[in-house]
């Protein structure tokens, strides 16, 4: 194929300015989780006592702690994005490192929770509630890990080779996208923790 002859390469950046595509992903992902939440509540309707009793086996304190951790990490990422927009890339990187450090605590708490449950024999086979518990928190955890990797890559800053202006602009686009993704991870935990830890409490 001689595509290079028939189509002169478009100049970088001429693609029509469009929605940061991450918003589309966020809308799709939130929709999926929304369906998940409704299915959870529908399943719960047939077994209210079981679901509430199982929910009480979870530590609402740890759920609340994890919410605070993600909110704080999210704030640091939002701050990093603002710093980047102002041109202070170094500060953005430092804030991202802080966000990662705080965010790592979520992973630690979640791992402890899983370990504690599994060592007491509470698995997906235990009952319907715990199928949802592991599915919802598990899928959220995968999102969290992807987010942490993304933040880690962003914390290394713009690439050091190539034209500076272009690599900065490219980096800032990714910083914005990565920030939005991380906020989504935080936002989803708000509903997940409410459903699993708080609704059936007491």
């Amino acid at each position: 194929m001689q595509a290079a002859e028939t189509h002169p390469p478009a100049a970088a950046g001429t693609r029509r300015a469009r929605t940061p595509a991450i918003w589309i992903f966020i809308a799709l992902d939130c929709s999926s989780f929304g369906l998940f939440f409704v299915v959870f509540m529908a399943e719960r309707m047939g077994q209210v006592a079981l679901f509430d009793h199982s929910s009480q086996q979870l530590s609402a304190v740890l759920g609340f702690l994890n919410a605070c951790i993600l909110i704080t990490s999210s704030w640091l990422v939002a701050w990093a994005n603002l710093a980047g927009r102002r041109g202070d890339i170094r500060r953005a990187q430092r804030l991202l490192v802080a966000a990662i450090a705080v965010g790592a605590c979520f992973g630690a708490v979640k791992s402890y929770e899983y370990y504690e449950k599994l060592s007491h024999g509470v698995t997906v086979a235990t009952n319907e509630f715990f199928i949802f518990y592991y599915a919802l928190t598990g899928i959220h955890f995968i999102h969290y890990v992807v987010g942490m990797v993304l933040l880690g890559v962003l914390a290394t800053g713009p690439q050091r080779y190539g034209p500076v202006e272009e690599s900065r602009a490219y980096y800032l686009r990714w910083l914005e996208g990565g920030s939005l993704y991380w906020h989504m991870v935080d936002l989803l935990w708000v509903f997940i923790s409410s459903l699993l830890y708080l609704l059936g409490a007491r």
Partner: protein, 89 residues
Amino acid sequence: MIGDDALGPRNAWLLLLLISAISFGAAELVAARHLAVATIMGVAAAKIAIILLRFMEIDRAPTGIRRYLYGWTFGCAALILGLWCVSAG
């Protein structure tokens, strides 16, 4: 030092922590379950709206996305609360 534009997210963070504590308190301490669950879901919707507005700056996103995500937030909260009330009898 925090620049002026960073105060918005900082204040949002403090508010989020505060209302999270209220939600936790309602779940653990309020005997009237209908009130507790309404508080939990109300706070959840408010938290997400704050995250969308102050952290994600959703007012910069296209109108369709903005409406959809706000609709999703309050719709899910309402649906969850509604289904809880139905199952509570």
